[in-house]
């Protein structure tokens, strides 16, 4: 079993695996998005307090969840990379970062557009918003640092440190609404009690969250292949790839 994991951790095998997976994941993400938008915008009722304005939730909550999940995934790969020194780990971390940065930005953007009509302000320096902003900067810092160092293995190790140390911010974001008095509301969905929202609203939100999960898996599978090709461009197996040889003839 252990052998199997390391087998797939070889860039060459993972390139093939990710190449077979991403089209299916992309198709599934599209189907989930259509279903989620249908439930969220055609079936779910208006909110008693916020009217139609609450529908920002279908972008805001999934994007915010993904911004945290992706950072934890980067920290996970970084621990593996520093522990086992596997080449794939650094590439996975780097493939995740742009998508995480986008979701962190979308969390802030959709949050501002939600805050303006409901709170009367685009932004407040409260614990939830500020810690999410820090998460966005951590993503940008990771990307800037890793692209500033030419030696890729050194860049991976430096980036891994940011990813691991910065991960402490994720539980701070998650629990910020409990630990401090924030303008931001508490969690509408938690593992320990039943959700405080209407069934169809909840289903729309969960479908959109699932869509963004699968989208992330698809784009990461796609992007990691680019990184593998770039780093292994001198190897025989990359040179012999049909997509390389095919266009040359």
């Amino acid at each position: 079993m252990t052998m199997r994991w390391f087998y797939y951790a070889a860039p060459q095998t993972f390139y093939g695996l990710a190449g077979r997976l991403w089209p299916w994941l992309a198709a599934l993400a599209l189907a989930l998005t259509v279903a989620g938008l249908w439930v969220g915008f055609a079936l779910a009722p208006a909110d008693a307090q916020q009217g139609e304005g609450y529908r920002i939730i279908f972008m805001h909550v999934p994007a915010s969840w993904m911004s945290m999940v992706i950072y934890l995934a980067m920290a996970f790969w970084s621990v593996l990379g520093l522990t086992f020194n596997t080449r794939l780990s650094g590439m996975m971390t780097r493939a995740l970062a742009p998508t995480g940065a986008i979701f962190a930005f979308l969390s802030l953007w959709t949050g501002a557009l939600w805050g303006k009509p409901m709170w009367g302000t685009w932004w407040v320096w409260d614990a939830r918003l500020t810690s999410e902003l820090i998460l966005f900067f951590l993503y940008l810092g990771y990307i800037a640092l890793t692209s500033a160092i030419d030696d890729v293995r050194r860049a991976d190790r430096a980036g891994a440190l940011i990813a691991i140390v910065g991960a402490i911010n994720v539980p701070i974001i998650y629990f910020s609404v409990k630990w401090w008095n924030t303008l931001h509301q508490g969690a509408s969905v938690s593992l320990t009690r039943s959700p405080s929202m209407a069934q169809l609203m909840l289903w729309g939100m969960l479908l959109m969250a699932l869509a963004m999960w699968v989208y992330t898996l698809a784009i990461v599978c796609y992007r990691v292949r680019t990184l593998i090709i770039e780093r292994e461009c001198h190897t025989d197996w990359v040179q012999a790839l049909p997509e390389v040889a095919g266009a040359k003839a």
């Binding site: 915008f41 055609a42 079936l43 779910a44 009722p45 208006a46 009217g51 139609e52 304005g53 529908r55 920002i56 972008m59 805001h60 994007a63 742009p98 998508t99 986008i102 930005f105 979308l106 953007w109 959709t110 557009l113 939600w114 303006k116 009509p117 989208y215 784009i219 796609y222 992007r223 292949r225 680019t226 090709i229 770039e230 461009c233 001198h234 990359v238 040179q239 790839l241 997509e243 390389v244 266009a247 040359k248």
Partner: protein, 57 residues
């Protein structure tokens, strides 16, 4: 279906700017990300080909 007309749908109960501003930015950024990933992949493949023709012209 809960909407009386398309204009009712776009109006979004007066929250159109906020809801569509959220949706629009999400759609644009994800589409740009996909296009960027695709271009980067093609660039990488071109890099390998350039490498090949340099090594065995």
């Amino acid at each position: 279906m809960r909407w009386e007309s398309w204009s009712d749908f776009w109006f979004m109960g007066g929250y159109g700017l906020y809801v569509w501003g959220s949706m629009g930015m999400t759609a644009v950024l994800l589409l740009v990300e996909m296009a960027q990933a695709h271009l980067a992949h093609r660039r990488a493949l071109a890099l390998v080909r350039a490498e090949q023709s340099f090594e065995n012209p």
